[in-house]
Symmetry: C2
Subunit: 435 residues, 2 copies
């Protein structure tokens, strides 16, 4: 059988991992793809000592790969959104299929890239862009094709989840665990993309577009990071029966689509609440199947390579079958994409956790309760304990029922205006995740 | 776009569910399949009141469906292994693709059916045969195609899992919960297939064949049911840090392949240990990706229909692309299947939980410890408590380290031969599920 020729761009962590997985599992992969997957050309600025390149063509100019005659599929693993975009578009114009792990590229420029690919009759695959080795893209695009997806919620950034797990398990402060995460290599020197939720937002927008059949719209995602969470919030959440996770949430309703990344209280008994460390997991509610969960390694050389190779095998099967564009990039063709409105955050309805640091004076609780009641916000639970000796402030924890964020914004503003409440109120959304 | 014509055989729970999912989600499904999926003909002994058949051709002879000119794909949802086999083979000989939910049919006759399908150039799909709506077949066949699968372990029978969840949560006896399960419709009047693990074994053999590229071999699966478990075993397991689940386990090693269904102690902190009620979950360890878990509804009309439709969309995409046999039924072609030996149960190595009812006499513990030590079986943990007043017997709980079953068989035989141990010893295998 005619080998399928791979052009590998980038030989960093993921590139090196992909190279090695293709080599180590060559026999199984060839049996599944029904054709050998041959690394025809590698484009990389420098060699990777973990890769044996002795029998491989290597070029220092990755654009060579995009134009090489002996390449069927270009694998883009260089990252970033400028050179990577040019590379991918050049490859598409040269009739190459694309496999990428680049969430930022797809989230921010996917619409244009998919349109170009459709025009040239080639496929763009990106399983590796979201949740590492977990085949979630395939599940949404194919495995759940019989469902209307009602919503999905995911732990899709391992760095953030590692930090929150450590904070909860050991009562450590955010900045302390962040420093450790950086030392361990779980977080970059500039950790903004992870802890502010930008990385998760890139991934969420890809999942949502597949799930709901809408164009990619990264700029529409509400993004809130985890830097203001405290171990005390974790403890109160636990007492109320919840855990705090950094979730990407996408929902569709008659009002439109919600796209949001933020800290979230979720019930302790959910499987999602028990996903710890750097693992990822995505919970998807389908109209026929109900809730389904997909869990595994969200990052790392070999897990991400696993996803890249899954896409390569899929494409190889298509190429062998001489059908090279079998599944549209976003599961449906461009003309079937829907222009659904994005629900403004003020209209998003969830329960809320509020932590109010109040002066230990009579009447504070009653004022808080009145403010909430005036705005039609019901209280699910309250925790107020006697303050430690000598403390002048006492934390009051409120769990509200479902309320529109706009109402909660107003309630918090009114509470913060009270004399007896002198610092800003901590707020975390709640998701029950029960269908 | 030319519609893809479906011939639906069986209008029971799953058939009715499939009919309705195809109708309700027709627009989304057509957008994904890139062609409408049209129910061209229904074969059913009687109508289903939940299905509006007013605009559908219906026949009382399902073999009409297998031969009808206006059918591209035959969906077999009648169950059983005799008529269903004949139906499927007739359809294949008439050039129809097959989608089925029939685990027994695939497990017991899959090799012949797949060979016939390959001969006739048609596809056989069976996502719905294992774990309901969870796209596990697709994950193994495609999503994890870059991995060597080291092992998998699954809760793949919802009835059994419901029973064990109730036993653990409420301390109820097996027979009591079984009666309730039957009343609730979670278990058949003859519950043997569920509680003895036969249903799980059918499903396990399918997963293992996909995972390891081996022929289906249902008769090689070791099957042990849950009828002898007691709530006391659940309590002791909990005390040792474990939960008891009815698992299907498939592993490959240098010695060959292990295929076994049996009660298993698994660590409490595993996600799998927290899957309760009628839900299913499969944990798969891939050589590149590491552990991945897939969770959701394992049965029911709509969840199973979700899986049937996923296969239909896949096939429709193939048919639209004019490539009708893109992915081999077992992920690899027949000639790439491997004839791996099945490891005999005596050679299977796991830790063991033993519950020994011993006379409350001095020296029993020492005898037990000596027997184990003589056979080279290490002890991980022991629980022995003071017996309640008036009791003459005291339970001794032993958790061994890894030991070959043959050794443990011998140890148990020697213990049961002691005077001070007058009843049979309860034994449950342990799986750490940590890679």
């Amino acid at each position: 059988m005619k080998p399928v020729k791979i052009g590998l761009c980038g030989l960093g962590t993921v590139g090196g991992g992909t190279f090695n997985v293709l080599r180590e599992n060559a026999v199984e992969i060839a049996a599944r793809a029904q054709a050998p997957l041959e690394i025809s050309l590698v484009g990389a600025r420098r060699d990777n000592p973990l890769c044996d390149l002795s029998t491989t063509r290597v070029t220092r100019d990755i654009f060579d790969v995009a134009r090489d005659e002996d390449v069927d599929i270009v694998v883009e693993l260089i990252g970033g959104t400028t050179v990577a975009r040019e590379l991918v578009e050049t490859a598409i114009r040269n009739g190459k299929h694309i496999v990428t792990a680049n969430k930022a590229l797809i989230a921010e420029h996917g619409n244009e890239i998919f349109a170009l690919a459709a025009e040239h009759g080639v496929a763009v695959r990106y399983e590796a862009a979201v949740a590492g080795g977990i085949p979630i893209i395939k599940a949404l695009r194919e495995g759940l094709a019989g469902n209307r997806i009602e919503w999905l919620a995911g732990i899709i950034n391992g760095t953030g989840n590692f930090i929150l797990s450590e904070m909860r398990e050991h009562g450590r402060e955010f900045s302390d665990v962040l420093a450790e995460a950086q030392a361990l290599g779980y977080a970059e020197a500039d950790p903004t993309f992870d802890v502010e939720g930008i990385d998760a937002a890139h991934k969420l927008v890809i999942l949502a577009s597949l799930a709901f059949g809408i164009p990619l719209q990264f700029e529409s995602v509400y993004t809130e990071g985890i830097t203001r969470l405290t171990p005390q919030d974790m403890d109160y959440a636990e007492e109320l029966g919840y855990r705090v996770k950094h979730l990407g949430v996408a929902k569709q309703s008659d009002a439109g689509v919600e796209l949001r990344v933020h800290p979230t209280l979720i019930p302790k008994e959910r499987l999602l609440a028990n996903v710890n460390g750097v693992k990822n997991a995505v919970l998807v509610e389908g109209s026929a199947v109900g809730p389904t969960l997909y869990y595994g390694a969200g990052a790392g050389a070999a897990p991400t390579a696993s996803a890249v190779v899954a896409d390569l095998v899929d494409l190889a099967r298509d190429i062998s079958a001489e059908q090279e564009n079998r599944v549209p990039s976003l599961s449906v063709t461009d003309d079937a994409l829907r222009d659904l409105p994005i629900v403004p955050m003020a209209d998003v309805v969830t329960p809320w956790y509020l932590r109010i640091e109040a002066e230990d004076k009579p009447g504070v609780l009653s004022k808080v309760a009145t403010i909430l009641s005036d705005l039609g916000i019901s209280i699910e639970a309250i925790i107020q304990k006697a303050p430690p000796p000598g403390a002048t402030r006492v934390p009051v924890i409120v769990l509200t029922s479902h309320a529109a964020q706009g109402k909660v914004d107003e309630a918090v503003a009114r509470m913060e205006a009270l004399d007896s409440i002198s610092s800003s109120i901590s707020r975390i959304r709640v998701e029950e995740l029960d269908g």
